[in-house]
């Protein structure tokens, strides 16, 4: 009887620990990212309005004097995906530490303001704000808007692929596209796992320089 009671207690304990993990993954991490994104959004807007120039190497905009940010990490662009309600500041780098701030630009890919090439952005799909949670809902023709200190770029989705991790060649862009400037979005798939990667290829449709 005593052993049965002890076993029951262990299972209740494990069950509560699993519930605690779900709480951490879905709520805890997102609260952290939400606070960081709030700082990044405010600073990005201030930097844009002040006409500050980005760092030539990282593309990061300088921290405004009025900044209340608690971190030195700064945004390089704002990504908006109207179809799935995304409005987030993109940071430079795709380490897990960086992605805990928001979507991250792959440093090995073209910068948004480059004349040619494919720029890549990675984003979380579970936890940490999950900016790309509904990325699979994008269909051909849907728009993605990227705003930098130099211009606003409007991309149109062309196609998507699912690849296993390690297929870095997809960051070179859509091989069937002739567009000089492309955007590649990557995230985990299926949802709640890190098994494969969902890749979204987009072509630049419009570029509007900032006045």
């Amino acid at each position: 009887m005593k052993a049965l009671r002890a076993t029951g207690s262990v299972f209740i304990f494990l069950g509560l620990s699993i519930l605690f993990f779900v709480l951490y993954e879905l709520v805890g991490t997102s609260l952290v990212t939400k606070a960081r994104q709030s700082d990044l959004q405010a600073d990005f807007q201030l930097a844009l309005e002040s006409g500050a120039l980005p760092d030539p190497f990282t593309g990061e905009l300088p921290l405004p004097q009025a900044s209340k940010a608690r971190s030195s990490i700064r945004g390089i662009a704002r990504i908006r995906i109207p179809k799935i309600g995304v409005n987030a500041i993109v940071v430079e780098g795709v380490t897990l530490e960086r992605l805990a701030y928001g979507p991250g630009h792959y440093p090995t890919t073209a910068k948004f303001d480059d004349a040619r090439g494919a720029a890549g952005i990675a984003g979380h799909r579970t936890g940490w704000g999950a900016p790309f949670f509904n990325l699979d809902r994008l269909k051909a023709g849907d728009q993605v808007i990227v705003e930098t200190s130099k211009a606003t770029y409007t991309y149109r989705m062309m196609t998507s692929r699912v690849v296993s991790p390690g297929h870095g060649e997809v960051l070179q862009g859509n091989p069937r596209s002739r567009a000089a400037k492309q955007l590649v979005l990557t995230t985990c798939t299926p949802k709640f796992t890190a098994r494969d990667r969902l890749i979204i290829f987009l072509d630049l449709m419009q570029e509007v320089p900032r006045a």
């Binding site: 993954e25 805890g28 897990l96 890190a194």
Partner: protein, 44 residues
């Protein structure tokens, strides 16, 4: 064999410390490891 003290106050304090320590170790070590190993690795 008695694991916890007989007095109510110290017994509750030790149990609370154990639960909080367990929760903290999950939150700061175990869960981040589970997250980056099994749930989230969106970069290629």
């Amino acid at each position: 064999m008695r694991i916890f003290p007989k007095k109510r106050g110290p017994r509750i304090a030790i149990k609370l410390a154990l639960v909080l320590g367990y929760a903290a170790s999950l939150w700061f070590w175990v869960f981040p490891w589970l997250d980056r190993t099994f749930v989230n690795r969106p970069a290629l």
